[in-house]
Symmetry: C2
Subunit: 242 residues, 2 copies
């Protein structure tokens, strides 16, 4: 429909990057785009940590589950939900305790996500590729320690950015009718069933016939490896989710 | 730096719309862009509810705190975190209980946000304006009841989309150095102090001199009106955040 929508629709995660560095101008454009995202009551309840130190990148790559591209990518950003700043500035005027209650947790998590997605799109508009790194939540306490995160700040995910050195297939999404509802929520089983075959075909092509799976099988496998530690970790950072 | 980054940087929330309808083609482009956003292990753990019913829109507008633009906008979408579909498909293969534990809560909330932000950008690329409606979390149980949300689904926020009938000022953001850190988190008090004056000037212009406030004063005011009900509500939807 237009070039921007085409860009959005052609997203795929990039996990292999050339050595081409990202210029300061590119980085600043990406960060300015991030800051322009919507924010609840202008709270701006997120922080971005740019990891430039090679040792630190290696440690984070390992903590994320030995994802080498975390250390290899030219620009690695950690997107944090951040209520610390909000608490600092509110306390200039009032004593009201600021807690990571469920509502504040949602706000800060969403704000990190909205800013990050703007950054991802800005990067892609510059011909760069990106990959979200949820794997930082494998070892969130260790990550927080390494990055010096204070109370009320937690790492939601990382993001690798760099010039793509691969051209992955576009991963097909669920049919729209599976995620779209009119006026009332209505679970659409047939749309999900048909997607199982879509993913079987996709994985077959992607792995040269080596992997025979479906979407529901992948989801079942995922259900058996939950990150059960997150509740205790979040509590340790001041988020009252337990 | 390019047209896309310029679009991202020129975002402002739109709360007044013309009557111009949104075509089916526009809506589909917006929804396809949403679906193309990154998703953790391809979970696609969100749902979009398009509210077309006028009565329902009015009720939601009232529940959101009498925000008339919710009922007046030509396209109102509710973005839900959705683990129901994930549970349904995983249970085709395994009995593992799927819970809204902290990790799954983060995934589903982030996925709704990433998809929504893509939709927002797609809409803006079509010359439309958008406004996130966090106010749905004022009365989340009532909203969930009206929309028929099952367990493991919760409304993260709404979104108004339509042709802008206003040209609001661009709201200045924090200086980059307030939200940006290199390698380690470091709270930057001076950058926040300077922003207080930026917001004073902005509010002065925006309100024709009627409002004298600063960012920290706004944050202090916000701290005194928490949405304390969210924890209990989320628990009632199957999210184990208490």
């Amino acid at each position: 429909m237009n070039a921007i929508i085409n860009l959005l629709k052609s997203h795929r995660s990039i996990r292999k990057f050339t050595n081409e560095p990202i210029s300061i101008e590119q980085r600043e454009a990406i960060l300015q785009a991030a800051q322009a995202a919507s924010t609840s009551s202008n709270m701006q309840a997120y922080s971005i940590i740019h990891v430039t130190d090679a040792d630190l990148k290696s440690q984070l790559a390992e903590l994320a589950g030995n994802q080498a591209y975390v250390s290899e990518c030219p620009l690695f950003l950690v997107w944090c939900a951040d209520l610390h700043r909000y608490a600092e500035v509110a306390h200039l005027h009032v004593d009201t305790p600021i807690t990571g209650n469920a509502e504040n947790f949602i706000i800060a998590t969403v704000e990190a996500a909205l800013a990050a997605q703007n950054a991802a799109i800005a990067a892609e508009s510059l011909g760069l590729g990106v990959c979200y790194i949820g794997g930082l939540r494998n070892k969130p306490a260790e990550v927080s320690e390494l990055l010096g995160l204070p109370q009320l700040v937690y790492p939601v995910f990382g993001m690798c950015i760099g010039m793509p050195d691969q051209e992955p297939l576009l991963r097909p999404r669920l049919p729209l009718e599976a995620v779209y509802h009119e006026n009332r929520y209505a679970y659409n089983a047939p749309s999900v069933d048909s997607y199982d075959e879509t993913i079987r075909d996709y994985m077959n092509v992607r792995t040269d016939g080596k992997v025979d799976t479906t979407w529901s099988k992948e989801m079942a496998a995922k259900a058996q490896r939950p990150r059960k530690h997150m509740k205790a970790f979040l509590s340790s950072q001041g988020y009252e989710v337990e």
